[in-house]
């Protein structure tokens, strides 16, 4: 089988990576840690109860890891080959698109599979403790594998479509968002508006989390296997599209995109405005101008934020009963914050890492620009791109805080939640940018920088919050809603502060072997 050639190559590369080793014991270690946490914190009445809690906790984490990890492991597998110009070399051999896809998926999935397999023995404790049946365990593994497969297919699909790591990651996230959020939303809309029965059924069956949901809610049912089948069809559909895209696109290399880009840039920015901005930035912070390229991205952020709030305000005016409610405000806020944070994280390391790969960073480092000016240039570009939209979002939300629909039952608390979200959002955005920038200096992979940014700024506070809540539930007096909210905001701000301090310290350190003209000193590279 010729695909084995690609698999072998990929595995050889993977074995040389540090994470290949860490990825085997770290999940097992975390699972054991979680087992200890559940054992210590959960006041179980019987071993069966304890097993059940362990089964559901570990299952939830594994589902999360499979859903996110699969996408992350494959989202840059083909786009990277595209960028490095090695994809064409593969196709000049006897390999077909299917071989390349199979090789890439199998090689990318192996590390994650090994990691998940390392957790299974800990999961088996829940069976031994009498918390679950062998059948449920097997079904959980099947549900996880199914989710992993669709997540990886989404990553491969995006990777075949885009060339940069950031775009691929964003594309994969979009596909997963459509599958995980869009399908249930479509089912709900269909139920309330059109009532097409088969569409609702199809949406729920194609939902990647359906199998896990069925297992948790109802236990083993025939629907479980149906949903596995439909999710497989979706996955293979994505892979087929990726294959078609791949076999047609690898020949298109060179300057076509540049020509398209130029006309787009001209259309979006306009020559006079662009020239003025360019002059101003070049005289002030040259690297900021470079980081603002390609032009037009700032307007896209504006377009998205403006359109979102415009639709929302329009909805409030036309259907206030639907839109002008505490829940809708909170949902809108959550979506806007999430998209803006993701956008900032995607944008921050893009130029740095691209310049490091192209060698342009080396040229900049021997110019008169100091490392501080390079970092400042990138920060300034981010302010130019996101400053206005973020400020607008904050102002709109402040206005909603003052004039929002907070009169009804639970409205007052939702108002506090919105306030808390706003505080965390304002703190998160600069920290996310700074942290991703510091990662971009340290790592050579855009995907890793972005993932670490998400993990530390957006996921870690939640884990700490849930850990704290878990620990505090064993206390005699449980926390009130407001105390929960305060705890969450406090944890978020604390994490932000720590990450901000770390990032600042990291950015002040000399880059490997880089001489700083400002200080007139240089540090030997290790």
């Amino acid at each position: 089988m010729i695909a084995l050639t690609v698999i072998e190559r990929e595995l050889r590369v993977a074995t040389r990576q540090r994470w290949a080793w860490v990825g085997r014991w770290l999940p097992a270690a975390l699972a054991i840690l979680m087992f200890g946490g559940v054992y210590l914190l959960y006041p179980a009445r019987s071993s069966g109860d304890f097993g059940k809690v362990l089964f559901h906790s570990l299952g939830f984490v594994m589902v999360l890891v499979a859903g996110v990890g699969g996408m992350l492991s494959t989202c840059d597998c083909l786009s990277r080959e595209h960028r490095e110009g090695t994809l064409g070399l593969l196709f000049l051999t006897e390999l077909s698109a299917l071989d390349v896809l199979a090789g890439k998926i199998l090689a990318s999935s192996l590390r994650l599979l090994l990691g998940l397999m390392a957790v299974v023995p800990v999961l088996a404790i829940s069976f031994l403790a009498g918390g679950t049946s062998l059948r449920s365990m097997a079904m959980l593994v099947m549900a996880i594998l199914s989710l992993l497969w669709v997540s990886m297919a989404a990553g491969v699909f995006a990777s075949a479509r885009y060339r940069t790591a950031g775009q691929s990651l964003a594309g994969a996230m979009l596909v997963m968002l459509i599958l995980c959020v869009g399908l249930p939303a479509l089912a709900s809309i269909n139920e309330t508006s059109w009532s097409v029965k088969w569409l609702t059924q199809l949406c729920w069956l194609a939902w990647p989390l359906s199998a896990y949901g069925i297992l948790v809610a109802q236990g083993p049912t025939p629907e479980f296997f149906k949903t596995l089948g439909v999710v497989q069809v979706v996955s293979w559909g994505l892979l087929l599209l990726a294959g078609l895209r791949l076999s047609g696109s690898w020949r298109v290399v060179g300057d076509g995109s540049g020509v398209r880009f130029r006309s787009f840039r001209f259309w979006v920015a306009g020559p006079a405005a662009r020239e003025r901005l360019k002059r101003r930035l070049l005289d002030d912070t040259p690297y900021a101008w470079r980081c603002c390229l390609p032009a037009g991205r700032g307007r896209l952020v504006w377009l998205w934020v403006g359109l979102s709030w415009f639709i929302y305000v329009l909805g409030c005016l036309m259907r206030p009963r639907w839109f002008f409610t505490p829940e809708s405000v909170l949902f809108m806020t959550f979506c806007t914050h999430l998209v803006l944070k993701v956008w900032v994280a995607l944008e921050t390391p893009r130029v740095f890492i691209s310049d490091r790969f192209s060698g342009a960073m080396e040229l900049l480092r021997v110019s008169l620009l100091s490392p501080r000016e390079l970092v400042w240039g990138q920060c300034k570009a981010l302010v130019l791109l996101f400053g206005g939209p973020v400020l607008t979002t904050v102002l709109v939300e402040v206005a909603l805080l003052i004039m929002g629909p907070w009169g009804g039952q639970g409205g007052a608390f939702t108002r506090w939640v919105l306030f808390g979200c706003l505080v965390v959002f304002v703190a998160d955005i600069p920290v996310l940018a700074l942290f991703c920038l510091a990662q971009a200096m340290r790592l050579r992979s855009e995907t890793h920088s972005i993932t670490l940014g998400f993990a530390f700024v957006m996921v870690l506070p939640w884990l700490l919050f849930f850990g704290a809540i878990g620990a505090l539930t064993s206390l005699p007096n449980s926390l009130s809603q407001h105390q929960d909210l305060t705890l969450w905001v406090g944890i978020c701000l604390l994490v932000d502060f720590v990450l901000w301090a770390w990032s600042r310290a990291r950015l002040k350190q000399p880059w490997g072997g880089l001489s700083d003209p400002a200080s007139g000193s240089s540090t030997p590279a290790s």
């Binding site: 060179g254 300057d255 995109s257 540049g258 020509v259 880009f261 130029r262 360019k278 002059r279 070049l282 005289d283 040259p286 690297y287 101008w289 470079r290 390229l293 390609p294 192209s358 060698g359 342009a360 080396e362 040229l363 900049l364 480092r365 021997v366 110019s367 008169l368 620009l369 072997g513 880089l514 001489s515 700083d516 003209p517 400002a518 007139g520 000193s521 240089s522 540090t523 030997p524 590279a525 290790s526």
Partner: protein, 321 residues
């Protein structure tokens, strides 16, 4: 009686003293002592991994040395980074271009990086584009340029802040013959303009005709540094002549070996005899007379042309780090 003012000796463009650089256990450079005079077009020759790029990167302040010191026009590359960066133009062995930028935008950007005021940048960009022959491509996207043109654009970038010393790492690699010749012509023009140029290249035949001084480096150690013309006499033991005779070739070889000025004589695969003679200006007439006197018919006698490539092959062993 007034004493005439003492003129200080001209500061060399580049001077390294026991310059060393190690990457972990591996020594990329070992005690390199090198002097490049102002106005030199200096060829830097060595196998892959010999230490050429490391030397250039240290001189470009991109890489700090592990030991020793390096000076560019009198400025230490470690302690006077800013001054050195103003004086040098560094062109690495890769393009490092932004393919999505236009040619003028690219140069404008790097002009700004070198803090050239915006009032002067337009003219500077136009001047360097004219110098490298890219004026017609000023509005083109870099991604749409050919490899040769991108290389010329790289040279234009190097010249944007009018440096006195150019450090060019493999500037002609991957170029077609025409582009290479054009690139060399530009370099000669730059030398005439008073720039000092250090050029590392594998195309030794071109360096031979282009450079007035060369240095050969292997395994991080300097093997030779001096005038291009003197390399043969310094690196080779004596001058070599090729002799062709009709008749008894072994007898002719024996006669050659017996001559007092002969250092060595050997028979080549093509039937000709290669003879090395001692002395700075050896005269092969005595040898010719001996051969004719020995009853042999001399059909050819000429000095063997020893190129830079041959010298390089003889003095190096192709060893890399």
């Amino acid at each position: 009686m007034s004493t005439p003012p003492i003129t200080p000796p001209a500061v060399p463009a580049v001077q390294t003293q026991a310059l060393s650089r190690a990457y972990g256990e591996m020594k990329a450079l070992e005690a390199l002592d090198l002097v490049v005079n102002r106005g030199d077009l200096f060829g830097f020759i060595g196998s892959n991994g010999a230490g050429k790029t490391t030397t250039l990167r240290i001189l470009a302040t991109f890489l700090p040395p592990s030991a020793g010191s390096a000076f560019v026009l009198g400025h230490n590359v470690v302690s006077s980074v800013n001054e050195v960066r103003r004086l040098i133009g560094y062109m690495p062995d890769f393009f490092g271009v932004y393919k999505e930028m236009e040619v003028t935008e690219y140069l404008d950007f790097f002009g700004a990086c070198y803090r050239i005021p915006s009032s002067k940048r337009d003219k500077t960009v136009a001047d360097v584009l004219e110098l490298v022959g890219l004026t017609e491509k000023r509005g083109a996207l870099i991604g749409a340029l050919s490899r040769g043109m991108q290389q010329r654009l790289g040279l234009a970038r190097v010249l944007i802040h009018d440096p006195q010393l150019l450090l060019l790492d493999e500037p002609a690699s991957g170029l077609d013959p025409r582009a290479r010749i054009e690139m060399m012509a530009v370099l000669q023009e730059l030398q005439r303009m008073g720039k000092t140029i250090i050029i590392s290249s594998h195309i030794l035949s071109e360096l031979q005709s282009l450079c007035n001084r060369v240095a050969i480096i292997e395994r991080g150690r300097l093997i030779y540094a001096g005038p291009t013309q003197g390399i043969r006499s310094q690196m080779e033991q004596g001058f070599a002549f090729l002799i062709a005779v009709s008749g008894d070739v072994p007898a002719a070889l024996e006669i050659c070996r017996r001559q007092p000025e002969t250092l060595s004589a050997s028979l080549r695969d093509d039937g000709r005899i290669q003879v090395r003679l001692s002395g700075d200006t050896p005269d092969p007439s005595g040898l010719a007379a001996a051969l004719v006197g020995g009853g042999l018919r001399l059909t050819g006698l000429r000095e063997e042309e020893v190129g830079l490539e041959e010298v390089f092959m003889r003095v190096t062993r192709g060893e890399t780090q």
